[in-house]
Amino acid sequence: MLEIEIDGKQLQVPDGSTVMEAATTIGAYVPHFCYHKKLSIAANCRMCLVQVEKAPKPLPACATPVTNGMKVWTHSEQAVKAQKGVMEFLLINHPLDCPICDQGGECQLQDLSVGYGGVESRYQEEKRVVGNKDLGPLVSTDMTRCINCTRCVRFTTEIAGHMELGQAFRGEHAEIMPFVEKTVDSELSGNIIDLCPVGALTSKPFRFGARAWEMSRRKSVSPHDSLGSNLVVQVKHDSVKRVLPLENEELNECWLSDKDRFSYEALSSSERITRPMLKQGGEWIETDWQTAIEYVANGLRSVKAENGAEAIGALASPHSTLEELYLVQRLVRGLGSENVDFRLRQSDFSADKHLSGAPWLGMPVAEIANLDRLFLIGSFFRKDHPLIAQRVRQAAKRGLKVSALNPAFDDWQLPVANSICVSPSEMLVALAKVVKALAEQTGRELSSQFADACASVTPDEVSVSIAKSLSSGRRAAVWLGNYAVQHERAAELHAFAQEIGRLSDASFGVLGEAANSVGGYIAGAVPLGGSAGKNVVQMLESPLKAFLLLGIDLEFDFGNGVAAASAMKSAEMVVVLSAFKSQRTLELADVVLPIAPFTETAGIFVNCEGRAQSFHPVVKSKGESRPGWKILRVIGETLGLDGFDFEKIDDVRSELLSAEGKVDPSKLCNSVTVRIGSLPSVSSHIQRVADIPIHAADPISRRSAPLQQTADAKAPEARLSSTTMARLGLQSGIVVRVRSASGEASVVAATDDGVADGCVRLAGAHSITAPLGSLYGEISLERM
C-alpha cells in the first residue's frame, strides 16, 4: 500500500494505483475526457492535469502512478489554470452550438466547460471542419465535434477485440475513422456512443428523438441472451426512446451488446398486435378480451372432452418471463396434461430423465476473470454471448487459455489456443478423445459409461493438447454452448463434457441460449420428472389437437420450423400469445392474444448463473395488449383451474423463489448420467451446421429495423470450406440450390475455412433457410 495525500486528505492505495484512481476513492473529482476505467490509459486529453508536490509542471492524474508520500492538489491554482488552459484548447475548434447537438444535456464537454471554459472565445481563426463517417446503421457521426480522446478507438481494439476505428492523419488534421470502405460492425458497437464524451458519436436510431432531460430513466433487464444485462430504458410520452446500460459489474459491467441496446426499435414495429384477434371462416377479426378468452377456454375444454387432456400442449419461448413460463405450465397441468416445453430449438431430450435441476453456467459470471483454462464446446460464442465473450477476451489477456470444439468457427477476436473443427456428427468422437487423453494424463479412472466409447478412439495431438491445457490449470471451466445443447446428440455431448470437467477438476456448465433458459426449468415449463409429458419434438411429431404458443414466431423459433408448421396445421386449435404477429402466425393460428413485451410487463429473468432479476413495466401496454401473466391468470380462472385466483404477480413469485427473490441453488444442477451410444462413423454426406444469427434469435430483435441493417443480419449464405467447395465443384459467389429432407432453398455460396470439411453452414431462424426445416442433417447442394 502507498500513502498519498490528495487535497489535504490522507489515504492509502494499493501499489500500482494512479492518482486518478486514488482521487476517485475519496470522491475528489478530477475533470477528464480520455480516461475510462475499462480502457487503457491514453493520457491525451490533458484535462486531468493536477498539481503534484515537487513536480515542476502539472501532471495528468490518469497516467501518473502514485508514489509513496505523494502530495496532490486537484483544484489548486496551478491545477485549475492548467485545466482551464486545456479546456480552452478543446473548445477552439469545437462547434459552440450545443442546442442543435444530439449530445446536448448529456455532454461531458458541455458540463465541464461550464466550470472550466471562458466566457468568450479568444480564438478568432477559422474553425476546423471534419467530414462525417459512415459507421453503419447504429452509430451516427458528427466528427467536427470529436475531441480525439480515442476512447472509441481503444474500445474497438481492447474491448470489442478488433480495431475498427483509428486515428488517421496528424496534428490538427487528425481524424477518427473506420478503415476505408468499412463500417463498425462489432456486435458491441453501440458502446462507443456511451463512451464518446461529446456529440461526435451518437445513436443513429435515436438521433434527435428527445433531449436527455425530457426522458425518464427506468431500470429493466435485457430479454435477449442468457447474461441478463441490466438496462436503463429512457422513456418519453410512454414510448421507449433509448436503451442504455445500467452498470452492473457482476454482469454487463458498463457495456451492452447492440442487441440489448437497439432491439427496442421493434416495440413500435408494425407487426405489434394491439387487440385480441379471432379467425372466423378463414378471416381474422379483432375482438374484445372477454370474447377471446372465452373462445380459448371453450376450445380447450372441448379438445379435452373429445381427445383427453393429453391432446393439449403448451410451448413457450425461453425469452418469456419466469411468471409466464410458470403459469403456462400450471395451466396445462391444471387441465391434466403434462405437455409443456420451452426448449424450442433443442432436439435431443434423452438427458431429461436424469436431470435433477436446471442446467446453468456452473459458476458466477464475475468469476470468469479468474479462470485460467476454458474449454468451449459447440458455441457460436462471440455472437451468442457477446458480453460473456468480452469477459473471456479480457481474461485471455491475463493468461486464460481457451480451447474450443465446433463445427464452424468465427473470428472471436480472442486467442483460441486449441481448436477442433469437425462436423456435427464427429463432435462426440472428438470429445471422447479428449476424455481419453485426460484420463491417461491424470491417471484417473474413467467413469464406467465412457469406457466402451473411449476404447475405440486414439487421442490425437490436439485432444492431448486440450487435455494438457485443462489439467494444468488452476481454475478451469468447461462450457456447453447453444449449439451443443441443440445438437442431435446433446445428451451424450453433455455427458462427455461433464466427464471432462470431472477429470480436470474444472467447473462445468451450460451457457444457455436465452434470457430464461434457466428460468424455464425453475418454472417447471418442462415435461420432467418421469411424467408422461411430451417434449417439444414429441409434441410436434405426434401432433396434438390444441397448442398454446407463448411468445413464439412459428417459422423461426423452433429447431424445426417445418415440423412446427405441419403440427399446427393438423391441430384443431392454435392459440398464440404474442406481442407480434407474423405471416405464419396468421396462417396457422386460430386465436391471437396480444401480450406485452418486456418493457410493458413486470417479470423475472433467471440468467445463466441462476440470478433472478425482476423488472417492472417501463411504459404502458400498447393498445389492448396485456401482460402475459395476467392473461394466463384469466384463462386459468375462466377454466376454473386451481391456483389462478392470485391478485399480484408477487404471489406467483413466492412459489418459485426464496423470500429474498433468489433461486434456490439446489434447483441448479448440470449433472446427468447418460448411456453413451455407439460413436457415429464418418459420414460422406454434407451435413448442415446452423448458427442462429445474433439478431435473428428472438421475436424482438428480428423486428428491430436498425439491427436488421447490420452486417450481422445479412442474408444467410451457404458457407463451405475451400476443400468442400472444390470437392463439390462450387465457387464462392454462385447461387446454389440446397436441399434437405424437408425442403429446399437457394442461397449464395461463400468460402469460409472456419467451417468443418464436409459441412455447409446455413444459418437458421431466417426466411431464406426456413424451408430446410431441421437445423441438423444431410444437405445436398447443386449449382443453379
Binding site: 484535462m47 475531441i147 486515428q167 492523419f169 496528424r170 496534428g171
Partner: protein, 321 residues
C-alpha cells in the same frame, strides 16, 4: 547491458545516410563484428538500420519506438520510461547516434581524455549542422567551448558579407538568439544556456539581416503545426492556433493584442503535453517575440515588414544561387 539487438533509426527523407549505414553494417557483418558470437566470444549483437517515413515526431524517443514496432509514430506517455518498458516492451536504451559514437573513444582513451577535448563541464566534441545564410553550410565537428565566431568562420561566414541578425543555436525548437549575443558565446551547453537558449541537436540556423523574423517564425510555426502528431490537446489545437496567428500577422492582419495572445497560448501549451514537441513549438514563438518584438509590432501596426521587401528578395536571391 546484455542487449542483443540495436536499431539505428534514420529519418525517412535521408537516403544517402541510410545507404551508407547499410553498407557499413554489411562490412561489419563480413568482418564478424556483428551477429552471433562476435569474434569467437560469447557476446552476440546485431544492429539494424531502420528507415522511417520522414515524420519529425519519430525522432522523439518513444514515437521512434512505436514507429519501429510498425505503428503510427506517436509518443508514449512516460512513465513507464523506455529503460523499463521500451521496444516491444523490452528495456531499451535510446540515444542519438552521435552519443553512441562517442562511447568507443571514451572506452579506448578514458573519460578524462574525452573531457579534455572540450572545456570543463562540457567535455568532448560535437557535430554542428550549420545551415541558413552562410557561405558553406554543412556539418562541422568541433570541441565544445569553441567560440561561435570560429564556427561561423568554418562555415564560410555570413553570405554576401551581410550582418548577422539572429541564430538558432540548437535546432528549430531552441530559442532564437540575436546575432550579437551569439558572437559572445562559445559553442557549449553552459554558454548557450546562459545566453537563454540551448545547444539541443546542434543544428545551427544562421539568419542575416535580410531576414524577416515574422516570416521566419511563420515558417517554423507552420512546421510544428504540420509535425504535431495530434495526440494531445494542447499541441494538436495549440500549434494550429499559433501558426494561424503568426500567419495573420505576417500577412498584414495582425491585431494589437496578438503578441499577448501568442505568449499566453504558448504558456498554455508548455509543460502540459505528452512529449516535448509542445514546448518545441512554443519556444521559438516566445523567443522571436522577446528578441524581435519591434519587428512584430511594426508588422501589426503597418501591415508590412520592417525589413524592406527588396532586401528580403536580395537575400533570398543569393540563397538560391
Amino acid at each position: 547491458m546484455g542487449c542483443e539487438r540495436g536499431y539505428n533509426y534514420i529519418h525517412g527523407e535521408i537516403f544517402e545516410v541510410y545507404d551508407r549505414f547499410e553498407e557499413a553494417l554489411r562490412e561489419a557483418r563480413e568482418a564478424g563484428l556483428l551477429g552471433k558470437s562476435i569474434l569467437g566470444s560469447d557476446f552476440s549483437f546485431d544492429l539494424f538500420a531502420h528507415h522511417g517515413y520522414g515524420a519529425y515526431i519519430c525522432g522523439e524517443e518513444t514515437a521512434l519506438l512505436e514507429s519501429i514496432e510498425g505503428k503510427k509514430g506517436q509518443p508514449r506517455f512516460k512513465p513507464p520510461f523506455p529503460a523499463s518498458f521500451g521496444l516491444y516492451g523490452k528495456p531499451t536504451t535510446i540515444n542519438n547516434t552521435e552519443t553512441f559514437a562517442s562511447i568507443p573513444y571514451i572506452i579506448r582513451e578514458g573519460g578524462d581524455a574525452f573531457l579534455a577535448l572540450g572545456k570543463p563541464n562540457n567535455g568532448g566534441t560535437k557535430l554542428f549542422s550549420v545551415s541558413g545564410h552562410v557561405n558553406k553550410p554543412g556539418n562541422y565537428e568541433i570541441p565544445l567551448g569553441t567560440p561561435f565566431s570560429e564556427l561561423l568562420e568554418l562555415a564560410g561566414g555570413v553570405r554576401g558579407g551581410r550582418k548577422l541578425k539572429a541564430v538558432i543555436p540548437g535546432g528549430s525548437s531552441a530559442p532564437v538568439l540575436p546575432g550579437a549575443v551569439m558572437l559572445d558565446c562559445t559553442m557549449d551547453y553552459d554558454s548557450i544556456s546562459k545566453a537563454g537558449s540551448m545547444l539541443g541537436s546542434g543544428a545551427v540556423i544562421v539568419m542575416d539581416e535580410s531576414t524577416c523574423m515574422v516570416k521566419a517564425l511563420e515558417r517554423l510555426s507552420y512546421f510544428y503545426f504540420e509535425e504535431s502528431c495530434g495526440q494531445c490537446t494542447p499541441c494538436r489545437e495549440g500549434t494550429g492556433w499559433l501558426y494561424r496567428v503568426v500567419h495573420r500577422i505576417e500577412h498584414g492582419l495582425g491585431r494589437p493584442d496578438d503578441l499577448d495572445l501568442l505568449n499566453s497560448v504558448t504558456a498554455n501549451i508548455m509543460g502540459r503535453t505528452i512529449c516535448a514537441l509542445g514546448d518545441a513549438a512554443s519556444m521559438p514563438v516566445q523567443s522571436f517575440i522577446k528578441h524581435f518584438s519591434d519587428e512584430f509590432a511594426f508588422h501589426i501596426e503597418h501591415k508590412k515588414c520592417l525589413v524592406p521587401k527588396d532586401i528580403q528578395r536580395d537575400g533570398s536571391k543569393i540563397y538560391v544561387a
